[in-house]
C-alpha cells in the first residue's frame, strides 16, 4: 500500500507535494489506503511497513501518511545487520552491530548438527524415563501448564573463537566472537518436571536428546544442573525460534551451548554418563600431552570490544569504546580496557542491567589521536576469575583443544583508522 502511494502519489520520488496538489494528495492517499486495506484483508496479512522504505523515503515524513499496522513487525528496512551463515552447521551473531545486552531472536547465533527440523507443536512430546517412578510423557500443552520460570542468560558455543587458537583469523567481532547471544528464556524448571515424574534420588546423570536429524545427545550431571536448568518453550517473549529448538529446548545457564539440547524430546535418568559421541569425540578438549578433558561444561569469563572492532574504520576524535563481557560462573564484576596493548589498564563503566550468566555491556570514553594503537579488554567475574591473556592460556592448553578459547582479544588500529584482528 505505501509502495503504491509512493510510486504514484504526489510525494513520489523526492518531489515535495505542492500546494495545488493538496486535494489530490488527500484523495489519492485515501484511495491508496482503502485499496491497501482491502488487499491486506484479502491476503490475510498486511504489507510490512518497512518494505516501502527500501527504495524510497519521503524527504519530509511529516507530510506523508505513514504505513498501516502490520501483523508481524519487521525492523526498519534501513537496518542491515545480519548473521553470517557458515556452511551447513552454524551462523554468527553480528555483535558489532548490537546494543544493550539482548540479542534479537532473528540474530541469535545458530549451531546444529544436521539442520533445523520442522516440528509440529501439537505432535511434539517430551519422554522422561530411566530412573524415575514410571516412564512419563508430556505434550507441549502440559509443559506450559506447569508453574513457569523466566530468566535472561547467554548461550555460547564452546567452539566460539576456536579459529583464534592458532592465530588471528576472524576479521570482525562477528567472526571472532559471534557464537554467543543473550535472550530471555521462559519455561518450566527442570526440577519441577523431574519431581512430577518421581525422580529416583539415586539418579546422578541425565541424558538429554534432541528430536533433530542428529538426535543430538548429551549426558548431564544432575546435581550440577538441577537448581538452574529450564525446559524452555519461549525466547524473548514468543515461542522459541526453530533454530533455537522450537518447540522445546533445555537451558543450562553458563554451560556450553551444546548441553542446552534443542528440539528436546527425551530425558533419561541413570547412574553414569552415557558417553555419547558429543562428549567423547566432540566437545572434549585435547591437551598438549595428548590427554583430553571431558565434561568441560562451564563457559569461563570472556570479553570483546565490539566498537571499534575488526573491519571498521574510525576517525580521530572522541569515541566511546564499547563491548560485551560474560561469565558462565556468575556476574561480571569489572571490565578493564587497555589502549596501549596491555601495558596499562583503565576501568570501564558497566552498563545496567548487570546480570549473572548474561552478556554485560561495558563502555569507556576515549579520544583517538590518530596513532597506531592496540585495544584490549579483560574482565573479572564475581568468583574472582580473571580473563587470561593469550600467552597464559596457550601455555596451559596448547593450540589444539579447539574449544573454550577465552583469551583477551586485541584490535589493532592503524594510523589510517583501519581496525584489524591481531594477537598481541
Amino acid at each position: 500500500m505505501t509502495k503504491h502511494l509512493q510510486e504514484e502519489g504526489p510525494s513520489g520520488g523526492d518531489g515535495r507535494p505542492d500546494a495545488e496538489d493538496e486535494s489530490l494528495l488527500n484523495r489519492r492517499s485515501l484511495l491508496a489506503g482503502t485499496a491497501g486495506l482491502v488487499s491486506a484483508m484479502l491476503m490475510g496479512s498486511m504489507t510490512p511497513a518497512a518494505e516501502a522504505a527500501t527504495e524510497n523515503s519521503p524527504e519530509d515524513p511529516t507530510r506523508v501518511p505513514g504505513a498501516t499496522p502490520t501483523a508481524y513487525g519487521q525492523r526498519s528496512a534501513f537496518e542491515k545487520a545480519v548473521r553470517i551463515p557458515r556452511s551447513w552447521w552454524s551462523s554468527l551473531t553480528p555483535l558489532q552491530d548490537s546494543h544493550g545486552i539482548l540479542t534479537p531472536s532473528s540474530l541469535h547465533f545458530e549451531r546444529h548438527h544436521n539442520g533445523v527440523p520442522t516440528i509440529h507443536p501439537t505432535q511434539h512430546r517430551l519422554l522422561i524415563h530411566g530412573m524415575v517412578d514410571q516412564p512419563w510423557t508430556f505434550a507441549m500443552e502440559d509443559l506450559k501448564r506447569f508453574p513457569s520460570v523466566s530468566r535472561l542468560a547467554f548461550i555460547e558455543c564452546s567452539g566460539n573463537s576456536a579459529a583464534e587458537w592458532r592465530g588471528p583469523t576472524g576479521q570482525t567481532a562477528q567472526q571472532t566472537h559471534g557464537l554467543t547471544s543473550t535472550s530471555e528464556w521462559t519455561g518450566v524448571a527442570l526440577k519441577t518436571v523431574l519431581q512430577e515424574v518421581g525422580m529416583n534420588p539415586e539418579a546422578s546423570w541425565m541424558l538429554a536428546e534432541g528430536g533433530d536429524a542428529a538426535a543430538m545427545t548429551r549426558s548431564l550431571p544432575l546435581a550440577s544442573i538441577l537448581e538452574e536448568a529450564i525446559l524452555c518453550y519461549a525466547q524473548n517473549g514468543e515461542p522459541l525460534r526453530p533454530e533455537q529448538g522450537y518447540p522445546l529446548r533445555l537451558l543450562i545457564p553458563g554451560w556450553e551451548g551444546n548441553t542446552c539440547i534443542k528440539w528436546l524430546r527425551r530425558l533419561k535418568l541413570g547412574k553414569a554418563p552415557f558417553m555419547t559421541r558429543e562428549e567423547t569425540s566432540q566437545y572434549t578438549d585435547l591437551m598438549p600431552d595428548g590427554t583430553a578433558r571431558q565434561f568441560t561444561m562451564v563457559m569461563e569469563a570472556k570479553s570483546v570490544i565490539t566498537s571499534p572492532s575488526g573491519g571498521q574504520h574510525i576517525q580521530p576524535g572522541f569515541l566511546e569504546i564499547r563491548g560485551l563481557a560474560w561469565s558462565g560462573r556468575g556476574r561480571i564484576a569489572s571490565v578493564e580496557v587497555s589502549t596501549d596493548g596491555g601495558r596499562s589498564w583503565r576501568q570501564a563503566a558497566l552498563q545496567e542491567p548487570i546480570l549473572p550468566k548474561c552478556h554485560t555491556r561495558f563502555h569507556l570514553s576515549w579520544r583517538w589521536n590518530g596513532e597506531d594503537v592496540i585495544l584490549q579488554s579483560r574482565c573479572l567475574d564475581d568468583t574472582g576469575y580473571r580473563q587470561p591473556d593469550r600467552t597464559a592460556l596457550v601455555a596451559v592448553r596448547g593450540v589444539n583443544s579447539v574449544y573454550h578459547y577465552n583469551a583477551i582479544q586485541s584490535w589493532h588500529i592503524a594510523a589510517d583508522g583501519k581496525v584489524s584482528n591481531v594477537h598481541a
Partner: protein
C-alpha cells in the same frame, strides 16, 4: 496484605498436606503423590522402545543382530565413502581411520581409532546420525557390520571378528584412558 496472603498460603498448604496424608494407603497413593500437578501421562512401552536408542558403554541398549568387517566393506563403499572417503581417511567430512600416536603432536588426527574411548559409542552414533542424509535408516546388522569395518580398518579387531551385543562392549579402544575430568580454572593468575 502480606500477612493475609501468607495466611491463605499456610491454610492452603495445610489442606494439601492433610490431603496427602489422607491419600496415603489408598490405591491411588503413588500416582497422586508423584504426579502432584496431574500433568502428562504414563508413556506406553511402545513409545519408550522407539525412542530409547542410546547405547551405554556397558552395552545396555544394544539390539540383537551381528556383523563383520567383511560384510561392512560394501556398505561403507555404498553409503559412507562419498563423504568420508573410500578408505575412511580422505574426507571431505570427518576422517574416521588412522591417526594413531598423533594426539600429543603438533597436528593431532582425531579419528575413531586414535581418539574414541568406547566402541559402543560408535554403534550409538552411526545408528542415530549416519548416513548423514538418512539417519536411523540402517538395520542392526548393517550398523554392526559397518562398525566392524571401521574398527578393523583402525587395526582394533580382526576382519572376521563377529560384532554383536555381547562382543562389542568388550572391545578395548586404544584411547580408553585418554580422558580426564575438567580441572578448570587452570590458567594461573597474572
Amino acid at each position: 496484605m502480606r500477612n493475609i496472603l501468607r495466611h491463605i498460603l499456610m491454610v492452603g498448604l495445610t489442606t494439601i498436606l492433610g490431603a496427602g496424608i489422607l491419600w496415603a494407603g489408598g490405591p491411588a497413593e503413588r500416582q497422586e503423590q508423584t504426579h502432584g500437578y496431574g500433568l502428562g501421562r504414563l508413556a506406553t512401552d511402545q513409545e519408550v522402545r522407539v525412542w530409547n536408542i542410546d547405547v551405554a558403554p556397558t552395552g545396555e541398549g544394544l539390539p540383537t543382530g551381528q556383523g563383520t568387517a567383511k560384510q561392512g566393506a560394501a556398505l561403507f563403499a555404498a553409503r559412507c565413502a562419498t563423504c568420508h572417503g573410500p578408505t575412511g581417511k580422505e574426507g571431505p567430512m570427518d576422517r574416521l581411520i588412522g591417526g594413531a600416536g598423533t594426539l600429543a603432536s603438533q597436528h593431532p588426527i582425531k579419528t575413531v581409532g586414535s581418539y574414541w574411548p568406547y566402541a559402543t559409542t560408535l554403534y550409538d552414533y552411526v545408528h542415530r546420525a549416519m548416513p548423514f542424509p538418512a539417519p536411523q535408516s540402517l538395520s542392526p546388522d548393517e550398523v554392526y557390520s559397518v562398525v566392524a569395518w571401521l574398527l578393523y580398518q583402525n587395526g582394533i579387531i580382526a576382519e572376521d571378528t563377529v560384532l554383536d551385543a555381547h562382543s562389542l562392549p568388550g572391545i578395548s579402544m586404544p584411547n580408553r584412558r585418554g580422558f580426564l575430568p575438567d580441572p578448570r580454572p587452570d590458567v594461573p593468575k597474572p
